[in-house]
Subunit: 344 residues, 2 copies
């Protein structure tokens, strides 16, 4: 117990609390707090002295205590609800890329990011629990999954929340996302203009975003008097391959144009087609959705509907910060754009 003081560091033993530092500096804890915060009330000399002391003693402010006292954390929650298809989003390149850009944008704004994956079936209270934890200043929900109703309900009483997903007429929660229906229209129109006379929609039409993509495709198909069939396919890697294999012969037999709900699906379909010797786009036209980096790398390169993921992430963060600031920021619908490459 004698001298547990020095611990090897140059400047000496570590100061753990602001009170330790105060004792060393011969001032009160209050002054140290102010000095570290750069508060202008404190004498410039003492401020510098204290800051130097903090550096020398490897002092780190305890942010948990600080958060409790200030009632804010500088942390944004990012939650991924896994509704219908449990493993879907995590493995999906699109969501991961969005997450990367969110991390960028939040870091830039000085916020930390707390990531949580939830299975709403197992925890009906997933959103309230996260919000009520006191650990986050606001929340970004990635994907509406099958939780539209719950999100609406929470939005009615909790402002600092923004959702990546679709915007429905009259919805109360603030959403950022592409105009999925318009995107679906662009895709189907492209297929039809290229000569397709019978369309196939490849993807799970349950999630609301995909439902909108399908609805858009149907708009265009009906306008042109072209039939369109749905081939339900999940995104999880384990199910996707098998489901596509199961569908592909029927599709080739009936249709000559495929609209895949995501590029992940499109890339897998393209491979199945080429493996069977079906010429793309000669015999079968194909359009995807997302415009992932891989999509430019397939052979032939994929025609797809572009979503600007980086802009989406920035939009989410901007709107959220405005809402945290008390503003009543509205939804943001981003226009998708057809990227004409070689599969349609």
């Amino acid at each position: 117990m004698a001298r547990s003081d020095t611990d090897g560091k140059p400047g000496v033993g570590r100061a753990r609390t602001i009170t330790d530092l105060a004792r060393l500096a011969g001032v009160s804890a209050g002054t140290v707090s102010r000095a570290l915060a750069g508060n202008s009330l404190v004498n410039a000399k003492t401020r510098d002295r204290i800051q130097e002391l903090a550096r020398d003693h490897g002092f780190q402010l305890n942010r948990v205590a600080s958060n409790l006292r200030r009632q804010k954390t500088g942390v944004i929650g990012v939650v991924i609800p896994l509704g219908h298809d449990r493993r879907q989003q995590v493995s999906d390149t699109f969501f991961m890329t969005l997450l990367g850009h969110l991390a960028d944008a939040l870091t830039e704004e000085g916020y930390d990011l707390m990531l949580r994956r939830v299975i709403p079936d197992h925890d009906g209270d997933w959103l309230d629990r996260f919000i009520g934890s006191g650990m986050i200043d606001g929340v970004i929900v990635i994907g509406q999954s099958d939780q539209f109703a719950r999100i609406e309900e929470v939005a009615a009483r909790y402002r600092p929340m923004v959702v990546w997903g679709n915007r429905e007429p009259g919805q109360v929660h603030c959403a950022v996302g592409s105009d999925n229906r318009l995107g679906g229209q662009l895709a189907a129109r492209r297929l039809i203009e290229g000569g397709a006379t019978h369309l196939a929609f490849l993807g799970d039409p349950e999630p609301i975003e995909f439902a909108a993509r399908y609805a858009g495709a149907r708009d265009a198909a009906e306008a042109a008097g072209v039939p369109i069939d749905v081939y339900p396919t999940h995104l999880s890697p384990d199910r996707m391959a098998g489901e596509i294999t199961a569908h592909i012969d029927t599709i080739v037999g009936r249709a000559n144009g495929i609209f895949a709900a995501t590029d992940t699906l499109a890339v897998a379909a393209l491979r199945e087609l080429r493996e069977r010797g079906v010429a793309v786009p000669g015999r079968m036209r194909l359009v995807g959705f997302d415009d992932l980096p891989i999509s430019a790398q397939t052979m032939p390169p994929l025609t797809t509907v572009h979503q600007d993921i980086a802009a989406g992430a920035r939009g989410l963060v901007d709107l959220l910060l405005r809402r945290i600031a008390g503003e009543d920021a509205a939804s943001l619908v981003m226009p998708p754009a057809l990227v004409a490459r070689d599969t349609a």
Copy 2:
């Protein structure tokens, strides 16, 4: 405006603090705390009554206060240092996939995940700052980047840290990662056995993991008396394409086997080759590294070195939890495996 009291919830107004709840239940705050924690000391009846009350009033425990008091948070920090190539890892599919699996594994263990991207050049104190914040119970560092020395230094005095990356002889920090050197050997050997007589290494040889992959390839090349050249290429999407285009003619002129440091690079190279009409694997053999989902989808499917990302994530989490528990868990080196597909 009139009656803003009942807010649609069955049970009534919300209870914000444990003290609110205590008043409602006619007990002390201590008892409520125990009841909510499921502490067996508390009478079963009161326990149930309080828990029901909590539900009815939409009570959520304030975890910041709880964390401060208990001196632990149930949060694991995940930090991605962006050293040499700033945008590299974020956009890289491999790191994003690893992150997804980490989220899975941590969720399963009841931990939350706090994600932080740092640029060590801008903040020399990145690791100490994160650890010292008090917000996390342990930290997982994704990729050693060019921060090997700093990580070593911190590891000497901070136990609950695990790093995804390479293990060097005599290193003190606990690492989980593939045997990159062995992987490089497997790749080069495959190329040579297929008939390659002059190899090209495509990738940035600076990061320690990639350096190890290159070293392994050189081992095999030298053993076979085959020359191998390095073509430095970055992973960031904006630089990669241009750099590969710049390299490709030289490579085709000199070599007949390419070892790409990652599948992302390999896929891009494959496309360049096919666009130029270079037969793969006929005229040029190609092996990647990682075995990403896309790699099975290219035409022709990519021969590559498999890393089991899910197992890696589980390993990271297991070791970290053991270290948090006080155990002195050692590094984990995972054997890579060659996946023979059609490009080599």
